[in-house]
Structures are given as C-alpha cells and as structure tokens.
Symmetry: C2
Subunit: 287 residues, 2 copies
C-alpha cells in the first residue's frame, strides 16, 4: 500500500503518537556505548551528519539552527542583562555557541553528564563546538542536578535545560523539585528555559504540566515558544521560559537589532510571533 524504506534509511518511531520520521543515510560514522547511552553518528544524504542517542534523533547539520537559536536567544533577550549562564545537558555545544554570541555574557557553564556527546560533536559537528575555546566557556561532565544542588543560591542569570525527552535519563529535569532548585539558583530577574516537546502532541500533557510545575516551583511568569524542528516528532517543537520576578512574555526587542551577530532563524519578529500561541494551545494549556 505504500513505499517501503530499505536498509539505507534510519527511522525513528514515535510509538505513542503513531508517527515516524526517516532520513536516508549513506554511512555510519561513529558508534559508542557510553556509560549513559548509546551514541551513533551517521552521514545522511541531505541533512548532513545525524547524531542519535539511544536511537532517538538529537540533531542534524541541516536543521539544528532552529532548536539551538530558540533555546538560547529568547531567554537571553528576555533577561535584562545576562552575565552568568548555566546550560544543563547540551553536550553537542550548539546552544553554548549561541549563548557565547552575546558579548555581555561573562561566563557560561555547561554541565552534561556524558562527555562522549561533546567528543562526538567535536569530531562530527565541528561548527557547533567552534566556540568551546572561548575563555568564558566552562565545560563540565557531571550530573547537572548535583551541580545545581551544590551551586550558590542566587548566583545565575539564565539557566538553559537542553535535555533529552522527559523519559529516561532526563526525567528528573522536568520535575518540580528540580525546577525549584533552578529557581533557587537564579538571581531575582532570572530566566530559565527548557525544551518542552511538541505543541501538537504535548500541549495538553508535558507542556501544561511543565508550566504548572514551574509556577509551583516559584516562577512568576511562563511562556511557551513554538518553533519548527523537522527532525523531531511532529516537526514542531517548543521551548518554555519561566521568569523569577520578570515577565517572560516581554523581551528586549530593541537589543535584538543591535546584536552584532548573524542568525538563521531567530529575530525580534520571530520571537514576537512565537509569543502568540495558537488558540488550540491556549485551550489545552488552560491559560
């Protein structure tokens, strides 16, 4: 009844959603079982290199700009003057690269539990790790939750949770106690942002619960920003921001034009547009 994919295709099945996404691959470049997960890298026909963790698509050369720009710039242009940034997860270093484009940022600490991810990114996604030598960047390979526990209260301006899905290793990063720890870590006026799955698939579940949990954790405002992400389930993804005494539904729109770096997806107009949720999301989020 339909076309069949032969062995030259990689397929990720999203079982609970009854959908699947496939990319045509030309070569396996890397395969390592780390202490935490199974990491593979493939060359694809049209998406450049592809990284998988436990069989799930993490990123491709072709479309990672969408995700990484939306994980970094909305939060950084929402905070009044971000100087100290922490990234939990994000081992491919794509989000780190975007954060370092902000000249006002004085220090960024990235804490990913799995050094193999960063090593693979250095080899197979060198554009993403190009800024790793920046003196403002600190790369740690340890448990992000423990790091947050040990860090000083009120010492950070922006926390970015650049994690895998809320099942498996990253599950704890979506729970209210962890969100409360992030709230404690932030200075007044601080902003956190978390990848928050698909607007089509998860508005009435993961996204709504995350927003409720962020409020329970003490955050005074939340905003979910949808954006396209072809290689993720449904091709549509989201980042959810939360503010500690700051309204994350507004941002330093004037600053975006003055930023002296070029972007591929993010702009003030895109940010403003992403803050306008479609009516079906408002209903499911019970705003």
């Amino acid at each position: 009844m339909s076309e069949r994919l032969d062995d030259s295709w990689f397929t990720e099945i999203f079982s609970s959603e009854g959908s699947a996404f496939s990319l045509k691959v030309t070569e396996k470049l890397h395969d390592v079982q780390s202490a935490y997960q199974h990491l593979e890298v493939y060359a694809t026909e049209t998406f450049g290199n592809l990284m998988l963790l436990d069989g799930c698509v993490m990123l491709t050369d072709r479309d990672n700009f969408l995700y990484h720009e939306m994980m970094a710039h909305p939060a950084l242009f929402t905070h009044a003057d971000p100087k100290r940034v922490v990234i939990i997860g994000g081992g491919d270093c794509g989000t780190l690269r975007e954060v370092l484009k902000h000249s006002g940022v004085e220090k960024v600490t990235q804490i990913d539990i799995d050094e193999e991810v960063t090593k693979a990114s250095e080899r197979f996604f060198p554009a993403l790790t190009a800024s790793n030598g920046d003196p403002r960047a600190e790369l740690l390979f340890e448990d992000g939750v423990k790091w947050v526990d040990a860090a000083s209260e009120g010492s950070v301006d922006v926390i970015i949770i650049d994690s895998t899905d809320p099942v498996g290793p990253a599950e704890g990063l979506f729970k209210v106690d962890f969100l409360a720890k992030c709230h404690r870590l932030l200075r007044e006026g601080g902003v956190m942002v978390q990848q928050s799955e698909s607007p089509l698939y998860h508005s009435g579940s993961i996204i709504r619960e995350l927003r409720e949990d962020m409020k329970k954790a003490g955050f005074t405002s939340v905003a979910t920003l949808p954006f396209p992400q072809p290689v993720y389930p449904s091709g549509w993804w989201s980042a959810t921001l939360a503010g500690k005494g700051v309204d994350v539904n507004a941002f330093r729109e004037d600053a975006t034009g003055g930023a002296d770096f070029a972007l591929d997806y993010y702009s003030a107009g895109i940010h403003r547009g992403a803050l306008s949720l479609p009516p079906f999301m408002h209903r499911l989020l019970k705003d």
Copy 2:
C-alpha cells in the same frame, strides 16, 4: 541500525529531500482510481482518517486545521472587504469551510477537477464538508485553468490556489501565465494565495520562483507565511500571498478579534508572526 516499519505503517518518501514520514494505519477505508489520480483513505491509529492522492499525503483529521486556516484567513483578513472568492483545487472542502466562516463573503466558487476527492471527503471527512450546503457555496468539477480563462476580468476579490505539489496535474498552477490569468481575474485590491511548499526545503527554489513569477504576473506585493504542518515534507509549510494594488504584508488586524467564529490555529498574533520571516529565508528569497 534502526527500527523497521512493518506493514501496518503508511510511508511517504520525499526522495529529493532524503526524508520520509510515516503514520500507523489500522484499516483501508477507500481506494478508487479516478480519471485523474489514485485516491486512498486510511484510518490511522492517532491522526484520524488520512487521505492520499497518488500516494502523497493530502490531509488527516488531526492536523488539517493548520493548513486550511492558513490558506483561508490570512488572505481574507488582508483583503479590505472580500465578497467574491474563488478556490482552485481544494476538493476536500476544508478551505471552503474556512472561507464560509466570513459572514461578509457573498459567493465562493470551488473548482476542483476531480469530483472523487469531494465525494471521499463527504464520506470520510464530514467535518470539512459540513458547510457545503451553504447557499453561498458553488462546487464545480472541471479544469480550474479553463474556468479562470472563461471568467470575467476583474470579477473576484480573493483567489485561493489549494493545489497539490507543482509536479504532475498541478504544475500549470505555478506558472507565470496562470498567475497572470489570476491577476486579470482579480478586482483592484484583490488578493491571491497559493500553497507554496516547505520553508526548509524550498525557500531557494519553488518559493523564490513563485514570488518572482507573481511579480512578473503584475502583482504589486507578495508575502510568504510559514506554518507548521506535521504530515507534509519537513513538517513545515507555507502559503504565499500576492496583492493587486494592495500590500499583503499588512492585514485588518482589528477585524480578526471581531470575527464571530472560533479557530484552532489562526489568530492576529499568528498572522503577524508568520509575516516575520526567519533570516535564512530572507537570504534565500533574495528579498
């Protein structure tokens, strides 16, 4: 190396893009070879019913609201006072339904060459054809290009080209002579809109050429509005508007709030957001 899809999945391969999208199906509901194309309808596990034409996904119950709302409302809220609307293609009647929600519209003519599409939609997507009995609706089953040729110059306010891809039967609908015929058919102040493929895959090709051809055909302004569409290639799609003496980068924003109908995706904020293209599109479109 990856999960395999068994016979219970429908897969559409986008060969030139090296990607594929699959839905888990539970039952074949309909299979007919019309004079023009092979039409199938399946029940899926999570997307409701699915319609295919020549093996390509046309629509599903779950996510067609995105496409249909974006094909209708931006054009209708851009025109100052749309009374006479023509839809070329659109046999599933989803766009027609959205157009008929505008109480100011006096007559909508839908011209689809293949009556089998509308018959299948009446049986398997009854929500989309629910407004077909509206006295303002006229459904014709004939060649849309010939209909446009024969129609009186300057007799229409909005033309919606709700076609399949620009290969095969719909190829002519993307050519400059057809666009010039649409321009002739429109009154001064008229707006046309055409589905224009994927922002990720086609910004530097189909979308750019369509915009250039619209200008060659005499239109004074163009605007491409991206929107999510999970079941189409890349999960990201677009509609391109063109104006005859009217700026399609502006719209009757005040009217959207006053409209007395509920929508799932479209809103003034979504429309405004869609008018802000990401920087990479501006570069590829050579604006």
